[in-house]
């Protein structure tokens, strides 16, 4: 340590610097985005509004040009992506890990399921989802307060216990929560305005599958819009400070615990919404839907996507939806029984987690971004080299 201070400028210095810069930039995407030549507005909020609008258009187009089966796959994608978005804020931005997000999704799902029992349509759907979010947030705050004092493996172990233990409560409260069978969910019917909207856009019939896919897409867009703004705000910067420089941040008067709890609460809220959407789409809230594998799948999604990147979380979630049918087909094609082939997807998740951590810890998006920034740094270093070497 004591020998680190000696400056020794050399020809190799500039290029060796690039990866460090790239990592820093990858962690603070706003910096890269706002300095680059971009067609998007300079203001963060305005830029995100434009992206929100583009996302909405893309969602409508995507849902209208695809068949009902793909519609339901996209609905599945939406709840994975909502939960993964929340988790990536927690793990990527704040450096906390949670294996309990599957359990938090269960809280949201059971809340939605309970509110949708008879009499049906007593509450408007947005309110039901909101209540699910609030309930899960409360549970998340409780967990977060405990988790804020833990880190790394301790937090992983505690949330692992949550993931394994919480579904047991559904069995314990058998009468209210339906035990192992779970609660059936009667999905609310689409409002008339939706039917006329679909009629206007594509003239197709407005099935309930389609309606639920739209609900998922709307929830996803709102969640990502809010998370994106949060991440770019002072709050997001403080989270990154807590993650990277916890000692310095504490000396600067930042209450580390409170910020960690806040990160947990925000990600729990997203998990709650994801759980609510899941209950609607799957039409069931049962313990078997919230196994440890669900939590680990979410972790896989954000690791593949590159920790801390919302776009990465979305892409990672897409993989969770579209990879299993692909590898399962591959498995049955090569002679595995269907139950065996169904295990290929989690097998691939596990292998991907290991390989990603060993070879590309920055994830898919992070690695590509890093390459790009390294290239850019090399180019500008080429120009700046003469000036740089004269410094020493």
């Amino acid at each position: 340590m004591s020998d680190l201070q000696s400056p020794a400028p050399s020809a190799g210095q500039v290029t060796e610097d690039a990866p460090t810069v790239a990592t820093a930039a990858a962690n603070a995407p706003s910096a890269a985005a706002s300095t680059g030549r971009s067609l998007l507005p300079q203001s963060t909020l305005l830029r995100h509004l434009v992206l929100l609008l583009l996302g909405a258009v893309a969602a409508v187009v995507l849902l209208e040009i695809t068949d009902p089966f793909t519609n339901s796959q996209l609905a599945t994608l939406s709840y994975y992506a909502i939960a993964a978005g929340g988790l990536t804020v927690l793990t990527g931005m704040n450096g906390q890990i949670s294996l309990g997000h599957g359990a938090l999704m269960a809280v949201g799902a059971y809340t939605t399921a309970l509110l949708l029992q008879e009499p049906a349509d007593a509450l408007p759907l947005p309110l039901i989802l909101l209540i699910s979010v609030v309930t899960t947030t409360a549970v998340g705050a409780l967990v977060g307060v405990a988790a804020a004092r833990l880190h790394g493996p301790y937090l992983a172990g505690a949330t692992l216990a949550l993931a394994v233990g919480l579904p047991g409560l559904a069995v314990y409260f058998h009468d209210q929560l339906g035990g192992e069978q779970g609660l059936r969910v009667r999905a609310p019917r689409a409002p008339e305005s939706f039917e006329s909207f679909i009629d206007l856009v594509s003239g197709a019939s407005a099935s309930s599958t389609k309606w639920l896919a739209y609900v998922g897409a709307i929830c996803l867009l709102i969640t990502y819009f809010l998370l994106a703004n949060l991440v770019r705000s002072r709050i997001g910067r403080t989270w990154r400070a807590v993650r990277d420089q916890d000692v310095a941040a504490e000396l600067a008067g930042i209450n580390l615990g409170a910020w960690r709890v806040l990160a947990f609460v925000v990600s729990a809220a997203a998990a709650g919404l994801a759980g609510g959407v899941l209950a609607l789409v799957v039409r069931l809230a049962a313990p078997s839907g919230f196994t440890l594998v669900l939590s680990l799948s979410l972790l896989t999604a954000i690791v593949i996507g590159g920790l801390g990147s919302l776009l990465g979380a979305l892409l990672g979630s897409a993989l969770l939806v579209f990879l299993p049918p692909f590898v399962t087909d591959l498995g049955t094609g090569s002679g595995l029984s269907s139950t065996e082939a169904a295990q290929l997807a989690p097998f691939v998740y596990g292998v991907v987690l290991i390989v990603a951590m060993i070879f590309a810890p920055a994830g898919f998006v992070g690695t590509i971004r890093m390459r790009w920034l390294t290239q850019k740094a090399k180019r500008s270093a080429g120009r700046a080299a003469p000036a740089d070497s004269s410094r020493g």
Binding site: R149, L166, L292, Q343, F347
Partner: protein, 294 residues
């Protein structure tokens, strides 16, 4: 009264298994500062190997030996190939690698051995002994479990206290750099440590499987219990892991035996116990370090 005795005996027997599993976690934590979340899947893998051998007509004991040996090989290979690249790096990366291994192994077991429930033999009787005209919850198999764990622990103590390789392993665990400078082949010691830990973890898996059903995820709750037991003991202390295992075994047995519908509360109770220990005494009951980094 006899019910209380029975619940206590059940708790102690289960606690011994938790203790063994916690010990396996502690061995790895001490040497590589990694909580091996894949321990459960690794143990499940070796248990399925034993089951396959028993189904092929082998004796339980031969199958046990082969399973433990394959546990050693599995642990050693995993350390060399998968863990070595992330050792000493970002702790989050190591946790994620262990979790990836957890999922991959579990799915791999399901692909190779199928995911249905299969009964696993117990080497000794499962009927409780009779005391007077009463049957107590202590079974011949229970005594085998307790005995096997105690023998394993004594062997480990002997290894670490009285042998040169044990000393080298302890030195490597406490200070890798100094040990390397003193000529200790630290890499080899870490591999050996993972191998041994996997043997102990496999033993726990085989013991808990005896007389019951196994399926690829049957160790999921044991990884939680083992982790909780290890945390109660401070994660750093082998003695703490054993005491933690016994405490947890008893506590969960009382909850299961006395709370209404208690058996469905066991895992969540472990979570509550874990949180209480972590919040009240973050260093565990036996840790020499006073507090964890906040």
């Amino acid at each position: 009264m006899s019910y209380f005795v029975n619940v206590t005996l059940t708790g102690l027997t289960q606690g011994m298994i938790y203790a063994a599993f916690a010990l396996a976690l502690v061995l790895i934590w001490r040497s590589t500062r990694i909580v091996n979340f894949a321990q459960g899947s690794m143990a499940a893998a070796t248990t399925f190997i034993a089951l396959a051998l028993v189904q092929a007509g082998w004796s339980y004991w031969l199958a046990l030996v082969v399973a433990l040996a394959s546990g050693f090989v599995l642990g050693a290979i995993i350390e060399r190939v998968i863990i070595r690249p992330v050792e000493g790096g970002n702790e989050l990366n190591a946790v994620i690698v262990a979790l990836g291994l957890f999922v991959a192994l579990q799915a791999g077991i399901a692909i190779v051995f199928g995911s249905s429930f299969q009964s696993f033999p117990a080497p000794f009787g499962l009927e409780g002994f009779s005391v007077g005209d009463r049957r107590i919850a202590l079974t011949p198999n229970g005594i085998y479990i307790i005995g096997a764990v105690i023998v394993t622990m004594l062997l480990l103590v002997a290894l670490f206290r009285f042998t040169r390789v044990g000393l080298a392993m302890r030195a490597s665990a406490f200070s890798q750099e100094v040990s390397r400078l003193l000529g200790v082949k630290v890499g080899g010691m870490l591999t050996l440590g993972w191998g041994l830990a996997a043997v102990v973890g496999s033993l726990a898996g085989l013991l808990i499987a005896g007389g019951g059903f196994v399926y690829p995820a049957y160790m999921d709750s044991l990884i939680v219990f083992g982790f909780v037991a290890a945390i109660i003991g401070g994660l750093d202390s082998p003695v703490g892991a054993i005491v933690g295992g016994l405490i947890l075994g008893l506590a969960l047995s009382y909850i299961s035996g006395y709370a209404p519908r208690g058996s469905s509360l066991v895992t969540i109770s472990a979570l509550v116990i874990l949180m209480v220990v972590l919040l009240v005494r973050p260093g565990g009951l036996f840790s020499s370090t006073t507090a964890r980094r906040a």
